[in-house]
C-alpha cells in the first residue's frame, strides 16, 4: 500500500492547537483503516510529543510514533496557516503525521528515513507549499521519497 494517498492530504487544516491538529490528521488514517485504535495511536503520538515537542525550524511539525495500533507505514500531510508545534522560530505550516507499525519492516522504515531526510531540504518544503492540490502533494512525495 502507498505511503501516502490523496485521502491522506489535508490542505486546509484548521485546528486550535497541535493536539487537535494531530487528531484531525489521525482521523484520516482511521477512516482509511490504517490504524486499529485511533485513541491508542494518538496516545502514543502524544507520549512522543511530550518527551520533546516535534516542531522544527522552517515551519515544520512532525508528530510521529511507532505504535502497535498502526497497520501500515503512513504519512498524513497537513497544510495550515500556522499551528504551534513548539519550534523555536514560530508556528508550523507544514504538518507531517508519521505513523509506523511497532515492528515495522526495514524497507518501510527506510522509506520513512528518506522522507525525514527530504524534510530538511528547503526546495522540498517549498514545493509542498506550492502544490495546487492533493494529487500534486502525493506526486511530489512519491517522486522524491518512494520512487528513488
Amino acid at each position: 500500500m502507498a505511503l501516502i494517498t490523496d485521502k491522506l492530504v489535508v490542505l486546509d487544516l484548521e485546528a486550535p492547537d497541535r493536539h487537535a491538529a494531530t487528531r484531525i490528521l489521525a482521523e484520516a488514517l482511521d477512516s482509511e483503516g490504517r490504524v486499529t485504535d485511533l485513541d491508542g495511536f494518538l496516545a502514543d503520538v502524544r507520549k512522543r510529543e511530550e518527551q520533546m515537542p516535534t516542531g522544527l525550524p522552517g515551519g515544520i511539525g512532525i508528530p510521529h510514533a511507532r505504535s502497535a495500533h498502526v497497520t501500515e507505514p503512513s504519512l498524513v500531510f497537513g497544510r495550515t496557516a500556522g499551528i504551534d508545534f513548539g519550534a523555536e522560530d514560530g508556528p508550523a505550516t507544514l504538518i507531517f503525521l508519521i505513523a509506523a507499525p511497532e515492528g515495522g519492516g526495514e524497507e518501510h522504515l527506510a522509506i520513512l528515513a528518506k522522507l525525514a531526510r527530504r524534510l530538511v531540504r528547503p526546495d522540498f518544503r517549498q514545493s509542498l507549499h506550492d502544490a495546487p492540490d492533493s494529487a500534486a502533494v502525493v506526486d511530489i512525495v512519491t517522486r522524491e521519497v518512494v520512487n528513488q
Binding site: 512522543r48 511530550e50 518527551q51 520533546m52 516535534t54 522544527l56 525550524p57 512532525i62 510521529h64 510514533a65 511507532r66 523555536e88 522560530d89 508519521i98 509506523a100 515495522g104 526495514e106 522504515l109 527506510a110 520513512l112 528515513a113 528518506k114 525525514a116 531526510r117 527530504r118 524534510l119 530538511v120 531540504r121
Partner: protein, 520 residues
C-alpha cells in the same frame, strides 16, 4: 576536514535522519567531508573503522545514548541534542572545525585517551578529555568508583545475607561466629575451613559460604578502585600498576585513601612512560614489558616506602573519628550528608556524599557484626537519596494542580525511582523549577539523614532502596525516617509553589524516565 557523526533520537524514524541530512548538507556547503551513522529504527550501518580513524573530529547529535561510543575514543568531540543538528547544521560543523583545530594545537590533551587506540576494548571511562583539571580529577575518581560499585554490591549484599542467615541458624552469636569461616584454616581452625569441611545440612555453613564469597568480593574494592582510577588516567597501561598498587594499599591497611593515591601514582607513571620517545626496536616491547614492569615497580615502591604509612595514619584517624562520633555529632553528619544528597540529585555534590558512604563500606569491609558508623553513614545517605523523588511523587499526588501534566506523569515514575534509590528521579522537577525543588529536596534529605543517624539504622549494601530493606538494621525506623523526610520535602515544595502561584500550565519538564540513570 573530515568528520564523522552519529545521530539518534527516541523514536528513531524522523529526527535521526533529518539531523543526518542537515549535517551532510552543511558539511558539503562548507567544503568538508562527513560520514554520518544514523542509529535509527531502520537499522544502522556502522561507520568503517578507517573512516573513524581518518576523521578530524566527531559529532554526536543524539538524544539517546550513542551505541558503541568507545569506537570514537580519543577524537575531539562535539556533543549536542539531535534538534541542534537540524536547526543549526552549519553552526555545528563550525564547532567541529574549532574542536579539531583546538585538538591539533594541544595534542597532549587527547593523548591520554588515545594512548592505546587499538586497545580501547569495551571498557569505558567517564573522562571527558576537554574538561578542566578539577572536573577531570573528579571524573578519574568516578571512573574508579563506578568499576568498584559492582564489587561493593555483590560483597555487601552477600555479607548482609550471611549475617541474616547466621542469625537464624546460629542464634544471637551466629552473626559474630560467621566471620570465622575461611578457606585455608588448618589445625584448631580446620572446622571453619569451608573448602575441606562443608556440611550441606548446616545453616551456619551456608551462612559461612555466603560470607566467604562476600569477603572475597570486598577484597577487590581497593585494588579495583585504584586500578580504574589509573585506567581513567592512562588507559590500559594504567591497569597493572593501579591494581597492584591498590592491592598493596589494602594489604598495608592504607584503605581507600591509599588506593586513590596508588591510582594516581600508577596512572601518571604509566602515562609518563608510555609517552616517552623510544627507539623503534624497543617500541614493540613497550606495552607488554617495559610499561607494566617499570610503572608497577615505581608505584609499589612509592606506596611501601613513602606514602603508605602517612596514609594509613590518616585512614585510621578518619575511621576512628567516624566510629567515635556519637549522639549530636553523628546527627550533624547525617544532616550534612543529607543536604549534599538532596542538593544536586545525582550531580557531583551528591556523588561526593555517596562515594564517602560506599568507600566507608569498603573500610568497614568484612568486619564483624552489624553496627559501626560507616554502616550508619551508608543508611543515612541512601535514605537521603530516596526522599527527593518520593517527596515530588507525593506532592504531585496530593496537589496535582501545582504541577504541569508532564510533571504529574513524572511523579508517577518518581515513586518507583525514589523507592529504588535513584535520586535522579527528581531531576525533571528541579529542571523546571530549580530553587523551590532543590530547597525542598535538601530539607527532606537532611531530615531523613539526621533521623537515620538518630535511630542508628545500618546498611551494608551500597544501593537498592526499599528492595534491600530486609538487610537493614532497624528497618522500621529506617522506613520511618524516609517517610518523614518525604513528607518534609512534599510540605516544603507545596508551600513554596503555592505562595509563588506557579500553576502556570506551560511549565515544561524535561523528559523523565528516559534520562534517569541509577545514582551510581
Amino acid at each position: 576536514m573530515k568528520f564523522v557523526a552519529v545521530t539518534s533520537c527516541p523514536t528513531g524514524i524522523a529526527h535521526t535522519y533529518m539531523a543526518a541530512e542537515s549535517l551532510e548538507q552543511s558539511a558539503k556547503d562548507a567544503g568538508h567531508e562527513i560520514a554520518v551513522e544514523t542509529q535509527g529504527a531502520a537499522g544502522s550501518q556502522p561507520l568503517p573503522a578507517e573512516v573513524i580513524a581518518a576523521a578530524d573530529a566527531v559529532i554526536f547529535a543524539a538524544d539517546v545514548e550513542v551505541r558503541e561510543r568507545q569506537r570514537f575514543a580519543g577524537k575531539p568531540l562535539v556533543q549536542v541534542g539531535v534538534k541542534k543538528a537540524i536547526s543549526d547544521g552549519p553552526g555545528l560543523i563550525a564547532q567541529a572545525v574549532a574542536a579539531a583545530e583546538e585538538a591539533a594545537a594541544h595534542p597532549e590533551v587527547l593523548a591520554a585517551a588515545a594512548a592505546a587506540p587499538a586497545s580501547g576494548g569495551g571498557l569505558a571511562t567517564k573522562v571527558d578529555s576537554e574538561a578542566g583539571t578539577g572536573t577531570r580529577i573528579r571524573q578519574w575518581l568516578m571512573t574508579g568508583v563506578s568499576y568498584m560499585i559492582p564489587f561493593v554490591a555483590a560483597g555487601g549484599i552477600l555479607i548482609a545475607l550471611s549475617f541474616m542467615l547466621a542469625q537464624i541458624a546460629g542464634g544471637k552469636r551466629g552473626a559474630i561466629a560467621v566471620v570465622n569461616y575461611n578457606l585455608t584454616g588448618t589445625g584448631a581452625d580446620a572446622h571453619w575451613n569451608l573448602a575441606t569441611n562443608f556440611n550441606l545440612t548446616s545453616g551456619m555453613d551456608w551462612a559461612g559460604l555466603l560470607f566467604v564469597i562476600g569477603a572475597a568480593s570486598f577484597g577487590f574494592l581497593v585494588p579495583i578502585l585504584s586500578g580504574f582510577i589509573a585506567f581513567a588516567i592512562a588507559d590500559r597501561p594504567g591497569i597493572a600498576p593501579g591494581i597492584v598498587g591498590g592491592f598493596i594499599a589494602a594489604t598495608m591497611g592504607a584503605g581507600f585513601l591509599g588506593g586513590i593515591a596508588t591510582g594516581f601514582v600508577g596512572g601518571f607513571t604509566a602515562l609518563w612512560i608510555s609517552r616517552r620517545k623510544v627507539p623503534k626496536g624497543v617500541r614493540g616491547i613497550m606495552p607488554v614489558v617495559v610499561i607494566p614492569l617499570v610503572s608497577t615497580a615505581i608505584t609499589g615502591a612509592a606506596l611501601i616506602l613513602v606514602l603508605g604509612r602517612p596514609i594509613k595514619a590518616i585512614s585510621d584517624g578518619l575511621t576512628s573519628w567516624l566510629n567515635g562520633l556519637t549522639g549530636t555529632n553523628l546527627v550533624i553528619l547525617g544532616i550534612i550528608l543529607g543536604l549534599m544528597m538532596g542538593f544536586d540529585l545525582g550531580g557531583p555534590v551528591n556523588k561526593v556524599a555517596y562515594t564517602f558512604a560506599t568507600t566507608g563500606l569498603a573500610t568497614a569491609a568484612a568486619t564483624a557484626a552489624a553496627g559501626g558508623t560507616p554502616l550508619k553513614v551508608m543508611a543515612a545517605v541512601m535514605a537521603a537519596g530516596m526522599t527527593p523523588p518520593l517527596g515530588m511523587a507525593l506532592a504531585t499526588t496530593i496537589r496535582p494542580g501545582l504541577f504541569s501534566e508532564p510533571e504529574r506523569e513524572n511523579g508517577r515514575a518518581a515513586w518507583l525511582l525514589g523507592a529504588s534509590f535513584i535520586s535522579e528521579g527528581a531531576i525533571p522537577f528541579a529542571a523546571a523549577d530549580p530553587w523551590r525543588v532543590i530547597v525542598s529536596s535538601m530539607s527532606g534529605s537532611a531530615v531523613a539523614g539526621a533521623l537515620v543517624m538518630l535511630f542508628g539504622s545500618t546498611l551494608r549494601a551500597p544501593h537498592g532502596g526499599i528492595w534491600v530493606v530486609p538487610l537493614i538494621g532497624a528497618p522500621l525506623l529506617f522506613l520511618l525516617a524516609i517517610a518523614v523526610g518525604t513528607c518534609v520535602t512534599t510540605a516544603v515544595v507545596v508551600a513554596l509553589k503555592s505562595t509563588a502561584k506557579t500553576t502556570d500550565a506551560d511549565l515544561v519538564a524535561e523528559p523523565a524516565a528516559t534520562t534517569a540513570a541509577p545514582a551510581v
